[in-house]
């Protein structure tokens, strides 16, 4: 991290673990769960949020002294909506199938609480460079969780990763399936995502007891 001062590096690294937007700040869960049945969709979602949050944080931070505080929510919504439209149009142009899978959840990045949360909590009070780092850090923290969930759900649920059959062919009974291994259909259904997040939180808090909530 020679490029960044220690404080700046912390802006990026903190949200990856001890201040993770999903597991600690409880932000942005809405879109995190529905699209994680496949690793590919998770990755695309993570990149979309990275773009929207990184750019959005800079824009809001540049405008922070101009925006009247009474209408700041509307201004923020307009900024996010514009960025999300860009993401949506790009996806539709270059990855049409994927944009069908993600369906309304691309649009729902607008109301992803991480984005509004970071605008309110950080970009409105800090300069553009810091806000950019904060945006990138939080989007990465969000992306990491998404990728972990997507990884386990796709691997255990369909035995594939990014569409490649890594565990063998379940119908021809090759690879692991030859030994009687079965795909866990439970991982495909939506509620499984919630349980996987619950387990991630469990692991994270067992490793770092400081994060445990008061009874």
């Amino acid at each position: 991290m020679g490029l960044l001062s220690k404080k700046d590096a912390q802006l990026i690294l903190d949200p990856l673990a001890d201040n993770n937007p999903i597991t600690i700040q409880v932000l942005g869960i809405c879109s995190a769960l529905a699209i994680t049945a496949e690793l590919k969709a998770s990755l695309v979602m993570a990149f979309s949020v990275l773009f929207v949050l990184g750019v959005g944080n800079v824009v809001i931070s540049l405008l922070r002294n101009v925006i009247p505080s009474k209408i700041r929510i509307i201004v923020q919504l307009v900024v996010v909506a514009t960025l999300v439209i860009i993401v949506d149009q790009v996806l539709k142009a270059f990855a049409y199938e994927l944009s069908k899978t993600l369906s309304v959840f691309v649009g729902l990045i607008i109301t992803n609480c991480i984005i509004m949360g970071r605008f309110e909590a950080f970009a409105l009070g800090n300069g553009p460079w810091k806000s950019f780092l904060d945006g990138i850090g939080n989007a990465l923290g969000y992306g990491v969780i998404l990728v972990i969930i997507g990884f386990f759900r796709e691997l255990l649920g369909s035995g594939t990763l990014l569409g490649y059959a890594v565990l063998g062919d379940p119908i021809a009974k090759t690879g692991l399936y030859a030994y009687g291994y079965e795909n866990n259909g439970f991982m495909i259904i939506p509620p499984a995502a919630l349980i996987v997040v619950g387990i991630i939180i469990w692991v994270q808090r067992s490793r770092n007891p400081q994060l445990i909530e008061e009874a």
């Binding site: 999300v84 619950g198 808090r205």
Partner: protein
């Protein structure tokens, strides 16, 4: 009438905002510590959804869809403004929330005091924008159905937050492993409730239920239906099992 009923129950139970599509999870998790606040937020969500979904339906029909501008004149027929949906929908929602807040404050101060702090929060609740986006994606055919969709998905969300708030109030007295306390266990309970709600999917098959319904149920409660040839019977059997499992889980949690 029948399609109204179908959409109503479908949006509440099968496509439940929280358990099936995970919308509004942020406020669902943040505001579900007490039943009384959960009721306030739930009511506000129903209200705002009932207002914004029909509004956005009109926008979608007469402004956004390809060719929707035809009523302005022949030269507008080719316009396709659907890429503007996000920004127009969210603008409508933000404006309506503000407007609703002002109107409620003026004419129903008691309601305003009970909803007060939640109303502005709702503009950024994913359930609200999600309602409009799903309305667009599912191509709901009429204004009345859109209104129905708004209200019923709001009720679904209301039920979900009410249930989780009640469970969280009780679970405070249970010995939850320390790292799971609070957020972790709430996620897992929501997951279990979601599995329970999945069993409502059986309601969809109600249309082409075979005439031998009672037999199926008897068979299902026994070990496993041995002679079930068509898929329908199988699903009914599975679902009966799932429901009782989920109910047990919820009961044991309580």
């Amino acid at each position: 009438m029948l399609e109204h009923l179908e959409l109503f129950f479908k949006s509440i139970f099968i496509d439940n905002m929280v358990f099936a599509v995970f919308l509004g999870m942020c406020s669902y998790l943040a505001v579900s510590k007490k039943v009384s606040t959960a009721v306030g937020l739930g009511a506000a969500v129903i209200f705002v959804l009932a207002v914004t979904v029909p509004m956005n339906w009109l926008l979608d029909q007469y402004v956004l869809q390809p060719g929707a501008l035809a009523w302005l004149g022949a030269e507008f027929v080719d316009y396709d403004l659907s890429f503007l949906s996000f920004i127009l929908f969210i603008a409508t929602i933000a404006t309506m929330v503000q407007l609703v807040e002002i109107v409620v404050e003026k004419f129903a101060p008691a309601l305003y005091n009970s909803l007060g702090i939640f109303l502005p929060l709702i503009a950024v609740n994913c359930a609200i924008l999600g309602g409009s986006l799903f309305m667009q994606a599912r191509e709901i055919p009429s204004l009345a159905l859109a209104f129905n969709y708004g209200i019923s998905s709001g009720i679904g969300w209301f039920l979900a937050i009410l249930a989780i708030a009640a469970i969280r109030e009780k679970i405070r007295y249970s010995a939850v492993p320390a790292p799971l306390r609070g957020l972790g266990i709430t996620f897992i309970i929501t997951g279990l409730m979601g599995i329970g709600f999945q069993s409502f999917g059986g309601m969809l098959t109600g249309d082409n239920e075979p005439p031998v319904v009672e037999e199926t149920i008897v068979e299902a409660t026994e070990v496993e239906a041995p002679t079930t040839s068509d898929e329908l019977n199988e699903t009914t059997g599975l679902e009966a099992e799932e429901t009782s499992d989920a109910e047990e889980t919820i009961a044991s949690i309580n």
